[in-house]
Amino acid sequence: MADGTIGLWTVPLAVFGGAIRVSTPFLFVSLGECITERSGRINLGLEGTLVMGAMSAYGISYLTGSPWLGVLAAGLAGSLLGALHAGICSLPRVNDIAVGIALMLFGTGLAFYLGKPLIEPTAPRLPAIDFGWWSDIAQVRAALRINVLFLIGVVLAPVLYWAFRTTRWGLLIRTAGESSDAARAMGYSVLAIRLKATMVGGFLAGIGGSFLSLFYPGSWNEGLSSGQGITAVALVIFARWDPMLCLWASLAFGGAAALGPALQSVGITSGYYLFNAAPYILTLAIMIITCSPKRTLTGAPAELSITR
């Protein structure tokens, strides 16, 4: 240890560091989707929102020199896509899942279209806080370089948990998700609640995308997101629409996704692609274990089309 090499300990350490780095987009997308789904609608288009957020953040950060303006732009782009989703879904007889697929196509296409000139230039990236200053070991320091967005996400999860339980807005969203009739009877417009919930969800998913392009991996290219958005949507189901469980699930997924690169870094390269698919396999396995054909999932908003 004294010579600074830590041998096979690299793997768990890299998985730990990776869990924190890789989980941030999962965390933001799943928290956003949690809000949207609690209001009774599912937005499968967050994959497109994520990519669009990544592109807008990179572009704005490059043009203005401020990565935080990029994060804001990513959020705004995400909420615009969310508004589009909610707008189309508010028409009668429109299937929200299908609209999500359409926006997945549209969002990624638009991001690739607009982002074509952004592949070359380098944009200023988000800063990280060095929590590993006490250590001499390079790997430890690398694992503990934590981005502020992750910390914001970690704080956001309990805040949302609390907000769903106790605030007026949380109750309204849950009412719209459990029984649109009840919300209507109270004199609220269900469509308006869902519009706002989908826009906030899109805002958070866009921020998740900004993390991809502005921190890790930290560049803009067309292979940036490979299904993190859709995995995060599945993760919400696994997390039973509970923001705190979303946090833990995101960390677990981040760790799973970091496994492949971590093993590669110590020279285990066989099965690299299979390890890269670990988050998807894990999602599927968890859904198989936790779902049941006989009952709806506990905690599922009753108005949600995906659990019926």
Binding site: L44, G48, L84, I88, L91, P92, R93, V94, N95, I97, A98, V99, I101, A102, L103, L105, F106, G107, T108, G109, L110, A111, F112, Y113, K116, E222, S226, G227, I230, T231, V233, A234, I237, S270, G271, Y272, Y273, L274, N276, A277, Y280, I281, T283, L284, M287, I288, C291, S292, P293, K294, I306, T307
Partner: protein, 369 residues
């Protein structure tokens, strides 16, 4: 997804007669053509505005799109070559849709079908081409079929949402493909782009005589017509539509919903798997990451635009094949990024879904019922 579609399709080519009852009698059919058509025009208009924002002339855009898709015999052949896998992958979404299921994993079944077909061809090195081709068709269809059947089974027996599971399976299929292509199935001679060994020129399925369009188009046409007959003219298809309309009613009259789901999902996946086989045996000649070209995802759009009707899938696939065929020309002549086709597809998709709200609301088409 009503029964009216069945007799409606025959009326497609009929010119509107002066008969005053015509609009009323064929109102539903006309709606099925008019509304998606209007959605398509609306989407093209929005896309025109979109490119105009980037300083391109929309009229040039439409001209080159037409040129690239249907303008010359060469572009027609390009369009039809692209339409072939689209018909097959669209069936992967349209068949389960009869049961009310939204399967979006055609891309995964295509990849698994391609892998299975390639594996079959490489496992039979010195067989006559016809045997190898038959084995490839069977392997591709079984591989793809089992892949989507997995989603169907998870839905039926574990209650896992089929939309999400089928999409997750796309990423898993891609990982399996990359793993095998970089591992045991890798041709050591493929350095830059890891690929399997070639299936051999003799085993390629070749083109329809007189054209450059491969036989995959015929496979697609047969599959679409067979699916149409299955859904609208057999008891099995009727049972599927009953179950899709009302799952409880289906159970009450004693339909085996599980068996229906498994069979339909197998057929759906087999269709997409056949698309993978066709791409290997008619275009690529081997399996590599090039196969993940997005045919599976465009197929979803084709199915929705065709309102999940297997026969309507054929013209819609040609149309969407044309749009993607024109992408190259748009890139060269107008300097549009290659993603512009994807943007247009997304806009079309959104318009088509939004247009669902219009059915039964167009005043002059309302029947007297």
């Amino acid at each position: 997804m009503t029964i009216d579609t069945a007799d409606g399709v025959e009326a497609v080519g009929v010119a509107p007669a002066a008969d005053p009852g015509f609009l009323q009698r064929h109102g539903t059919t006309i709606e099925y053509i008019l509304i998606p058509g209007a959605a398509l025009v609306g989407a093209l208009a929005v896309f025109g505005v979109f490119v105009a924002l980037f300083g391109k002339n929309p009229l040039d855009l439409y001209f080159y799109m037409y040129q690239g898709a249907f303008g010359t015999w060469f572009s027609w052949q390009n369009t039809l070559t692209r339409a072939a896998p689209l018909i097959l992958t669209a069936l992967c979404t349209a068949l389960p849709a009869q049961l009310g299921m939204v399967i979006i994993g055609g891309e995964g079944a295509l990849l698994i079908g391609a892998l299975a077909a390639t594996g079959a061809a490489l496992a039979l090195p010195s067989m006559p081409p016809l045997v190898v081709q038959l084995a490839m068709v069977c392997a591709g269809m079984i591989g793809g079929g089992l892949w989507i059947m997995l989603s169907g089974g998870l839905r039926q027996y574990r209650g896992v949402n089929e939309t999400i599971s089928s999409l997750l399976l796309v990423y898993i299929a891609l990982a399996i493909l990359n793993h095998l292509v970089e591992g045991v199935m890798r041709d050591p001679a493929s350095l830059n782009k890891p690929s399997t060994r070639e299936i051999g020129a003799a085993n390629m399925i070749g083109s329809i005589p007189g054209t450059d369009v491969h036989w995959g188009l015929v496979f697609g046409l047969i599959a679409a017509v067979a699916s149409y007959i299955l859904i609208y003219h057999t008891v099995f298809g009727f049972a599927a539509r009953v179950a899709g309309g009302n799952i409880r009613a289906a159970k009450i009259v004693g339909l085996g919903v599980g068996k229906l789901i498994m069979t339909i999902c197998f057929l759906a996946g087999a269709s997409a798997g056949l698309a993978g086989m066709v791409e290997v045996a008619a275009v690529q000649g081997r399996t590599n990451a090039n196969l993940a070209a997005g045919y599976g995802f465009t197929g979803i759009l084709v199915a929705f635009l065709a309102r999940q009707n297997p026969l309507a899938i054929i013209p819609v696939a040609v149309l969407l094949g044309g749009i993607s065929a024109s992408g190259g020309l748009l890139q060269r002549r107008l300097g549009l990024p290659d993603a512009s086709v994807q943007v247009l597809q997304g806009i079309i998709f959104a318009f088509v879904l939004a247009s669902d709200a219009l059915y039964g609301r167009i005043g002059f088409l309302k029947g007297k019922s």
